[in-house]
Structures are given as C-alpha cells and as structure tokens.
Symmetry: D2
Subunit: 420 residues, 4 copies
Amino acid sequence: MNSENFSISEKIVSPSYIRQGSQARRSHEQLIRLLLEQGKCPEEGWSESTIELFLNELAVMDSNNFLGNCGVGEREGRVASSLVARRHYRLIHGIGRSGDIAAIQPKATGSSLLNKLTNSVVLDILKLSGVRSVASCFVVPMATGMSLTLCFLTLRHKRPKGRYIIWPRIDQKSCFKAMITAGFEPVVVENILEGDELRTDMEAVERKVQELGAENILCVHSTTSCFAPRVPDRLEELATMSAKYDIPHVVNNAYGVQSSKCMHLIQQGARVGRIDAFVQSLDKNFMVPVGGAIIAGFNESFIQEISRMYPGRASASPSLDVLITLLTLGASGYRKLLAEQKEMYTYLAQELKRLAAAHGERLLHTPHNPISLGKIQRTQPHITGHVSGWPPDTEQQVCDSTGLHAVHQAGVWGQGGCPW
Amino acid sequence: MNSENFSISEKIVSPSYIRQGSQARRSHEQLIRLLLEQGKCPEEGWSESTIELFLNELAVMDSNNFLGNCGVGEREGRVASSLVARRHYRLIHGIGRSGDIAAIQPKATGSSLLNKLTNSVVLDILKLSGVRSVASCFVVPMATGMSLTLCFLTLRHKRPKGRYIIWPRIDQKSCFKAMITAGFEPVVVENILEGDELRTDMEAVERKVQELGAENILCVHSTTSCFAPRVPDRLEELATMSAKYDIPHVVNNAYGVQSSKCMHLIQQGARVGRIDAFVQSLDKNFMVPVGGAIIAGFNESFIQEISRMYPGRASASPSLDVLITLLTLGASGYRKLLAEQKEMYTYLAQELKRLAAAHGERLLHTPHNPISLGKIQRTQPHITGHVSGWPPDTEQQVCDSTGLHAVHQAGVWGQGGCPW
Amino acid sequence: MNSENFSISEKIVSPSYIRQGSQARRSHEQLIRLLLEQGKCPEEGWSESTIELFLNELAVMDSNNFLGNCGVGEREGRVASSLVARRHYRLIHGIGRSGDIAAIQPKATGSSLLNKLTNSVVLDILKLSGVRSVASCFVVPMATGMSLTLCFLTLRHKRPKGRYIIWPRIDQKSCFKAMITAGFEPVVVENILEGDELRTDMEAVERKVQELGAENILCVHSTTSCFAPRVPDRLEELATMSAKYDIPHVVNNAYGVQSSKCMHLIQQGARVGRIDAFVQSLDKNFMVPVGGAIIAGFNESFIQEISRMYPGRASASPSLDVLITLLTLGASGYRKLLAEQKEMYTYLAQELKRLAAAHGERLLHTPHNPISLGKIQRTQPHITGHVSGWPPDTEQQVCDSTGLHAVHQAGVWGQGGCPW
Amino acid sequence: MNSENFSISEKIVSPSYIRQGSQARRSHEQLIRLLLEQGKCPEEGWSESTIELFLNELAVMDSNNFLGNCGVGEREGRVASSLVARRHYRLIHGIGRSGDIAAIQPKATGSSLLNKLTNSVVLDILKLSGVRSVASCFVVPMATGMSLTLCFLTLRHKRPKGRYIIWPRIDQKSCFKAMITAGFEPVVVENILEGDELRTDMEAVERKVQELGAENILCVHSTTSCFAPRVPDRLEELATMSAKYDIPHVVNNAYGVQSSKCMHLIQQGARVGRIDAFVQSLDKNFMVPVGGAIIAGFNESFIQEISRMYPGRASASPSLDVLITLLTLGASGYRKLLAEQKEMYTYLAQELKRLAAAHGERLLHTPHNPISLGKIQRTQPHITGHVSGWPPDTEQQVCDSTGLHAVHQAGVWGQGGCPW
C-alpha cells in the first residue's frame, strides 16, 4: 500500500500499529531496492512472502493486468485459463521482442524488469562461482544443446567460410547434435589416456587446425563438465591456441557452474587466451525444471549479437524459475550448496574406493574430474581410452569399449548426464 | 513498489514504461483507497490480481511476517506447514483478542484491518440487501446456531430472571439446539394454517408471554427463512409485541439475506417495534464454505456486547472468505445474484406447478415464502399444519406429519436447509 | 489413475515405464491406506505431493465436486470465488450436521472422512504426548475459551443446580470470560506462594466446595499451562477431590500439549481421580492459524455429548490445517519439536539467570512451570504472590502487583499468552 | 484412492456414502480414460478439479516424486524452491531426450505422457480448425521464429545445395530473422496491389525460382496471417509451384489457427500441391503465455525429423499451458471462441467503416484478410503498395510508405503483431 492508504488505515486501526505495519512493508521494499540498485543476488535469501510480493508488483506493471484496459491490438497477453495465469504469476508476455531476446517490451514493463534482473543476478552468480571477469550473459529458454546451436549460428555470420567445428570428443549426444543442427561438420578429436584420465590431445587438435585451415574452422568447441574417465578439456591450452589462430572458442559448460574447478578453467582460459562464449544448463546448476540455459561471455557486444539472433519473443518461464530460486537461496545459500557438493564428492570417492576394493574392482584415479567417478575391473589388462569410430553403432558399445562403468556422484546436484 | 523503487527501476527499463507501470499500480491502490476510506463493498468487483495484492499487503503488516523478527513470546503466528501458511495468505493471527472478537491485535495489524474491513463491507451489503437502518454487525467464525447461542448467552446477563425463549415453531434442529445449548427452555408456539401457509399465531404468542410473565422470558426468537408451507414469521407484529412487553427479540435470518422479502421484514420490524439482533449464515448467503455467521443489529452497543462475549481470539478464515468473495463480486455482482434468484424462483414455481399437475399433485400456494416451495397430493383431505409434540421421535415423523414434500428452489443459492 | 487408465497409458508410453509410475502411485496409496486403517499420525511426515493428492481425493468425494451435478437443494457447497474454492481444496461443506459436529454429512463424504481422520490423528498425538488413556477427542473450530464455554454449557444439563465454578486463580482473560459467557459464577480461589511458585491452595479449594455445597458447583476448572510464577495446578489433588465430592472437573490445557509435564499431570489426574474434559488450543500446540481447539476426555460418551451440543455445522478450516500439519510433520517430527522445546527451555533459563544477575535481578525458581520463566528485582523485600481483588482495574495493575516481569520462553513454540 | 482404500474408508464413513464418493471419482477417471484412449480434446471442458487431479496423477509418475527415492545420478529433477516446484505441478523433467524432443524419458513417465497427450490434443484442434489432413505435429518451447529456424535447419540436411529462401514479402521481423539466423539468404518477392489488397505475385515468385535454380533454393517460405493491406499468400498456387519444382514449402501460420480462412488455405495447399510444414504460435492461437509454437505437417516422418533436430531436452512449460487451456475450454469452448472472433471481425469492420467516413478516411477493402483491417486517407492519390528496399532504415519508414494505418481487430484474440 502507498503512504496515502497507510494514512487512511490509521483511522481504522490505531496509528501506531499501522506505522509498525508500514515499517514492516518498508523492510521488504528495502530488499527490493537493493536488488534493483545492485542487480546482484542478495546475500541472504528472501522469504516467500517477499518474493511473491515482488512478483505481484512486477505483474501489476504488465499491460495485461492494467485495470480497465481493453486491448484491441495484438500481444495483449490474454489468458484463457486462470490456472495458467496463476502459475505464471500473471506474467504472460514472455521476454524480449522480435528484435532481441534481451530487449524491453513496451507492453510488459514488469516482464522486462524480470528479464533484466534475472540476467543481472545470474551474471552475479557466475562471478561468485569463479568466472570473475565474465562481462555479460543472458538466460535463454532453450536447452544447452539448442543454445550451443544458437552460438554456432551467430558465428556463421562472422565466419562465412567456417565449415568445421573442432571438437575434443565427449560422448554426449546433445552437444554433437548442436553442431549438426546448426549445419556444421564436427571434427572429432580423440582424447589421450594419461594415467586413468582421458584428456585433450592438444597436439592432435592443433594438427587438425593446420590441416583444415583456420579460416575454414567455425570454432573450437570444448567441454568442461563430463563423465569420468574423461576429464574437463585443457581450456587454457585450447584458449591460447584459439587466440593464436584467431579461431572463436565456445565452451560447453553444461553442469559446470556448480564446480569451482570448471569455473576456474573458464576464467583462466579467458585470461590467457580466447573464449567467446560459454554455455550452461539452468536445471543442472540451479535446481530448476528442465528447459533453460545461460549463454555467457567476456565480450558484451558478442553476447548481444547472440541474443539478437533469437527470432521472436521467448518464454519467461525459465527466467522466472531461476530468479525465484536464486532469491530464495541467496548468495550464501548458493555458496553453501557449492561447499556441500565438494564434501559429498570426497565422501563418495572414499566410499566407492572401499566398495570397489571389496568387489575386485578399482576406483579410477581421475583427480581432474570434480564431478564424476568411474571404476574398472582389476582383471582387465588395460583401459582402452582411445575409442574410434563415430558415431557408435549403439550406446552400449562406446560405454563398454572403455571397460568402465561410470558412477555418478551423489549429492544435491545432478552432475551426471548419462553419456547418451 | 514504492516511489523510490520505481525511480531506480527507471535505470533498468525506460522511464516512460516504468511510469506507465507505476500508474497501473496506482489504479490498484485507488481501489484499495476507496475500500479503506468508505468501508463499503466496491460497486464493481475487483480482479484476482488486485485482491491478491491487497491480501499480500495485509499479510506483510502482521508480525509473523516481519523480516528479521525472532519472536520469543507467545502468539507469534508460527506455522509449521507452508501449505497451511499459503492457503491463509500468511494471515495467521486470527481475529480479535481475549477481550473482544472485534478488537485490534497489536501483533497483527493486517489481520485487524481485515477484520474491521470485512465487518464494514458486510454491513454495507446488509444495507444494500434491504436492512437500511442496520447499525452494526460482525462476522463470527461459528455456524448460525452457535451464533444464536452467543446472543442468548449475552442476553442472560441483561435478563437474569429470563428462563424461557418464545419460539414460533420451525422444524430445524440447529436453532432449537441453540436455545438448549445456551441453557434455556424453548417455548414452542405452533403456527396456524392460513390457506396453504403455516403462519405465526400471534394470539398464541402473546398468550404465552402473559402466561409466563415477561420478566421470565429471555427473548422472542423468530425466524424468516424457512421451508414451505411455513412462511417467514410476522416480524412486524412480533417486534411490536416485543417492544410492548419490553422483551428482547432475536431473529434467525439464516438464509434470508438473499431474499429481499426477508430483509424487508427485518427492516420493518425494527422500524415499528423491537429487534435486538438478527443472525445470518455466511455460506448460504454469500457462497463461501460452511462455518461463519453474521450477527447484526440496530443498536451498536448491544452488538458490541455480544462480540465481547466471545472468549478468546477466533479464526479469520470465514472473514477472509467472505471478504474475498464480496470484493470479487462487487455490489453489482451481488445485486445481480439477488435478481437471478428471484427469476429462478418464479421459473421454478411455474414448472413445478405443471409437474405437480401431471402427477395428481398440487403446488402449495405459499406466496409469503420467497425461498421454498411445497406440493401436496390432491387426494389427501387436508393439510395438518399443526404438528404437536416436541421433540419428534424421529425426523421422518415430523416431515410426514405435514403430508408435504418440500421442493427446494433451484438456482444460484442454497436456500433450503433440510428440516433437520 | 485407476488400473484401467494405467493400461491405456501403456499404449502411449512404454509399459515398463507406466508400471513404474503405477508402482510409484501405489506407494502414495499405501501411506493413505495406513492412515485410513490405523487412524494414527504417520511416523514419518508425508511429502506435499502425497498430502495434496490425498486432499484432492477427499474433495472429489464431496457432492459439490460431482461432475454433472446440478444441485437444486440446499447445502450444495456453492462457492462464488475460485480463490476461495482453491484455498479450501474445494472442501466446502464444513464438518458435522445440525445434530452433531462429529457427524457424517451425506453430501460431503470427503469432508466427513477428513473430520473423522483429523479427530483420530489428533487423539493419537494426545496419547503420544503423554495422556495415554485419553478415550476420545474432537477438533472444534472455536478458540479455547469458547470451547470451555461449550463444556460448561454441556455440564449444565447434567447438573441443573450447578451455579458456581471453582477456579484456582489464573490471570488470563479468556478462561475467565468462558465461565461468565456460559452464565456461571466463577469462584476464584487464590493460590499460595511456595518458595517462588504460586501453587494451588488445596485447602482453600476444599473449603469453598464445602461452603458452597457440592451440588451447587457446576465443576472445578483447573489450569495447566500458565505464566510464572504461577505453576500448573495440583491436578492429582484436584482430580481426587473432584472424585470425592462427585464434581465434574474441566482442565484448561491451553498450551499444554507441547509440555510433557502438563500432559503427565492430566494423565495422573485421570488415573487417581476425575477429569471430565481437557481443552487445548490448536494454534499454540500445533503451529496452525488461530481459531481451533481440541476437546478431549476419558469417557467417550461425555465427549460425544459435548460434540452434540454444538448447534449446526462448523468450519472445517482448523481441522484441515491441523491434519495437513500433522501429516507434514509426522509423529517423529512432532516428537522432535517437543524435544527441541525442552532443550530451548533449559538454555533460556540458564541465559536468563546470567542476564538477571547482571542487572541486579534474580530468576525466579519455578521448577514446576515447564513453559514460562519470571524474574524479580533483588531489592524488592518479598514477592506478593497473593493478589486480591477481581477483576483488576487495569491489566497493568495485576502484572505489577506480583512485582514480576514474565519472560516467555524462546523456541519453536508460542507458549505464553499474555496474561490478558 | 484405489479400491482397497475405498473399502477401508467404509469402516470410517458409511459404505453407501463412500460408494457415492467412489463413483464420483470414477466419473473423473472416465474423462481421463477418454483422453488417454482417443488422444483428442474433450468435447466439453474439464473442471479445474479434474485437471488438477490429472496433473497430480502425472506428477506422481515422475521419478523426482517417487517416495523414498534418493537419486544419486543426474537428471533427478531436483528443485530448490517449493514455489517453483508447485507452479510446475512438480513436473520438473521437461520433455524429450537428447535424441528427440518428442521422445519418452525413462525417469519421467508422467512428463512423457503429458508431452504425448499435448501433441495429440493439439493435433486434434488443428484438424478441428480446418486442416483435416494434418498428419503430425509437436509443441516446441520456442517462439514461432525460432521454430521456423529449426525447420530450415532440418531442410538443410535434405538440400545441401539450398542457399536461398523464396519469401513473398511480409513486414515482420521475426520471420525474416528466422531465415538469417538459420544461415540462409532470404529472397524477398514484392507483392502486387490488387484493389486495396497486397497479394502474392506468383509470376515474380516463379521467375525467381527459375532465375536461381530450384536446387539452390532451400524452400519457399509463405505466410498466412498478416496485417492489412497485405492478405494471406496464394497458398494453393505456391504449393502447386513447389510441387512442380520439387521445392520444400514452409508456411508461417503464426496466428492463423484461429482463422478458418488461413486454415482452409493450408488444407487446400496441401491437397493440390506441396506443404512440408506449417508453424503456429501458441500464445496467439491458444491464449497462453508467450514462448511456444506448434510445428505441423502432412508427412509424419518429416515432422519427426524436425523434432529430432532439437538438441537436448526442453521446457515442458508451454506444453503444460496449452494442455491445461484446451482441457479447460474443451473443443466446444474453442469452437465458440472461433465463432466469436468472426462475429467481432464483422462488427469491427462495420464500425471502422463508419468511423473512417466521419474522418475523411476510407476503410480498405481487403476481404481476403480475415484478421486485420486498414484505412487510408481519401485525399491521398493512390496507395503505394510496392515498397522497395529491404531492410528498411527504420520501422516507421516502411509503415508510412504504404500510407496506411493498420487497425488491429478487437476481440478475444490477439491477432495482430505490430509490423515490427
């Protein structure tokens, strides 16, 4: 209520109580003010009542909720079902305009604020999680794979001759399809076995670049989060090489935000070399429903170019989910989850080691992979890490060929992702 | 959001859009202002978004929703289940204080406002429905019967010698039990048959008063809404007699608010004679869940006395329901329902007449009953309206004794109430 | 979904997945089965999804939710506002019938089940909390005070000559008004000071009984939960005396369920003597919104008599709240809260002692009061525990007259209740 | 509840009432059965209680809601915020798998059913709305523009030489960007002015095809719904030509489902010639929040190819919205909206004509456009319908160049879409 209404209320309930109530309201307003001013994830999580108050305030600013408004035109945010209206807090207009998914909608001031704040809060969390120098990001209501596709499609306009994408192998279907869908030819570079770990074969990568010619390569497409025995790519080396040959570099960081190691790799890569964009899933990193991703980078104008490639307005649903979640957790709540994840990982590794030993198996030593663990039968002479032939005939083949059975880590996070 | 937050928002989304959003918010505030200022049911119903905004504003003013508040004492409005908190819009403190169900709670400014406004809006609707001179009323979270009990218990303190309650017979259990529970002796006065109608036997009533002695009579307990062939009591005559003998008069108007005839009777009774309180059900008259009633009267201080008799705080749930409902309907929506009810009644009477004729039955001619209709077999020699012997051995007996089968009226309202 | 629908679903999604889904559903059904079979609070709390599934199932059984149903009669559970319908899970019919608040409603099978189960689960919790031999109880949608009134009104019919209620003094308004409202004369018996504690003066009580004559006494009205320096009444002695003189005995156990000591006193009182009913608040003991109470006792038929005194149907809202809450907590969750309360009490006492010492004050030694603590200025010569003159002119007077400032206990529970 | 639980309930509440409740439940089950069996939009809309019951049933089948389930792996559907969980009805897993957005997820049987049923119900509505021979469709959580992009990217794999997209001009940014984003070169073919209408210049289109060579053309990209004075493209002729030259044909039917004329054009085009896919917006046609589209076609395997191009799982939110909405409206409710739209259009045209006349303007005669209306100043010598130069320097320029001010149609639908 505004001050006028508080004054009138003093005639109904005693002024001192109303003042107390008005101050209480003010403390919610203060939280909202801080959010608007700083655009950062609040240190302490908000109560549900503050969150719902805030969302109601945003909704009231959208034209579909204007009282007495009779929209004759288009884009009126009409909703037939009250169940649907309610579950979206009456924020119906989606985000963005035809021109740009990050643009402001004249008819939807509240939704526009929601969109801007979400991107800003998410940027803050990316910094907090280790990529201190990230310059810009936006939430897109598409899965990681489709978001990678959007990045590749944007690069096409900058590299008209680019046909190939250099891709250190990772056995995950979406990111492979992301390249195919965008219309490019993935150039799979096999990893090499170092100890138990499958790591980026930098020599092979550079050989491929020289062989195909830098100008014919759309970009390097590297990966952080993955299943053991594969470990995150050597991002520093890949970034350095990308800079050297002036090739764009896109990182698939699908479930890497929750791992300080993955985030550190990205930060380092950007510091010493070239990373144009890194893409992460919303559901895996922020415990929201499936269907959104964050596209982030170190050059604001390139990230804007990507956001301008999305043709049309888009669903605000993933943005709404991640904003509610981060306001609920607060930065401290998110850091706490990150710490728990590390603890759980260590505990799991230790227990798995014991379990494996009891069954004549051995836990693979993959210290560079902060997310996933694998084990192997002792009787097997050696691990054949180099798996050839893409795509495999069946899912089973590839999994078996390494003689490994991945064990995904327990904990608050979904770190895995079945290889297929 | 307050003006400060709107200003900050202008740096995020263009100022002109924010101003538009701020104006939109203001139009909700204006509705709330009118409600606070006038305490009347708004002419036009509010949208769900205004209602929820308003309830959120109220909740924020209750101390259980104060941010950073750590209540050490009692009455902190603690809630274990978030499902429960949410369904009450986080308004947890109930209404009233130990001293008075209508009193303001220091820890619950929002709930107190809710309570005051509900009573005020309901008073407005009682006026609109025909009792123009009603002076005061309050919603009580008890059924009609228990609310009548509370009225009788209040009267006890004013009439220490009162033992009897004069009660023109109505075959409904709750109102009978209301007197028994309060510890009084109901003096059942049989009705007389006029044409097809069972009407108050004024002579018999007055005879009883003289016989028992006015000072030994706690009150007259009359009834408006009832099943045919009974019709509403002769309120004017009963009120006149009550005034003459200086006996309090309590009217059971259970489902009478939705009938202009019942309300007119009460208005007339109060004009020419004495009516101390009239009690009506929330669910039947306002289409809310079962469990609340309105106690109303023409003398503010007596109604306050009743509200002060309720020991302890009380559930705000029925108040919340009726406030939401009236804000949703608006005065115009409520009037529309009243008009529909009349139309439906006429239609039902006409169709029942035809149906009865087709089955060798006859619709009873009960023009004084605006709510219920009855029919009778033509072969039956005459209606035995005078049923003696209370209480009946079984429910069935009484119903059969009149030889009638009540047909309750169709329509938007639940007007009936099975005789038992 | 029923088995038929699961079968059909197997044509849409693979049978093995559907079977898994069907088994998952079955595990929810199992929880519901246990609840229905045993009528006990589940050991482990239910998830929100099980609770909402269950409430939806109940709602579907109420006639207002019958598909294609066009209710012509009364009591159709019509609801004008969808906000209202939803917040009650479409359970609109309330509980009970005119005849009995515990009765089954033909038109509301789901609400009737809800009512029966709630009473059964609450009975289980009363046992778990220490009153092992409790025979019957029911939730009533009225505050503790009004519920006490209902008990007294019921006793009137059994004790027509009873005019007085013997009441060891407790400075709380509602329970005093409960007697006044019911139309009885409270006979206040002052407590005596033992050390720092104000305790029941058994001699004075018995003297009063003899003086007034047992047959003129409606009942003894004792209290467990209270503020220091008063401690719970000597229930064993009072119960023994009640048995000796054949006087009913009603215990005000307002916020005593959460205290094993209070519950133990009741159990012991009933074992060695006579306790007819004990009444407790829902909000203080179960962390639900204000407005409900539990009336319990050791003789099923007497408790039924009370439930039959409530005239009319009643709000199901408090029953719904307490059922949701207990299903959410589970018996283990409730026990955990009880344990926490004890811990917090000890911690608070210890810290208050230190704080008092630092300010020249002294924590009162009131070991019989497991809920509240008080402190006193050392400079004050002695505590004047005997406060005479009822009712006090102002609230402040009585509080000051003891020279005490009660400090309510911190913790998860609201144990206090301001003396007024 | 299952039959076992109903049996147990008979011991608590009388068997006959339980049977009634069980039958009531069965009537909801019957509605669900029909939906599962036929996969069609129910003729009559469902009540909110049936819809929520059904969604709860689906949610229970998803593994994140399995009781006692402790997911160690990935994709566990973990949700940090209960606000978020609830607004998605605890359906967290999204839809599809990495392989295919239409695929079944092993961990999410309920979400998979939801996805399949939504696509099936939407297919039914497309048929009902006029495209009787549509073979397959799927809902995709992306705007119309991005969905067109996905169609073009799919065609790339079938037409490796295709560089150009033939596009009869329409001044709307998203569909233009859809081609650019996909990496193709839009070949804009200007429309010709026939009377007041801007219509497809078939000669110019065919000339372009011959000029560029059919094999170099990825597809023809036509449009139905548009602003006056443009009218829907000559779909029959375009489809015939596409068939003749063996060029794929994709139709942008953004807000055309609600217009029987647009749907008829598509049906006819497919009958006489070639239409590979037609794409429509969810929000404009189904009154749901922004962010989803339907990709439909006449060849099931091609539509599957498109659905397999989406890399990764996707948000279920738009599918959930459209399913709730169509179940709420029912086929009859949807037909009623279609009929209202036609009525409103006629009314608007008539009133606008009068208004225009009063201001020295003239309503354009555009009978082929069933959605939008335009007017022109009489003083202006002639309409310059041929607008050259793409893209325009500013939005304003293009709008002005036609000398028209489009007036969007009033009504229940948002048919417009500002030209930009």
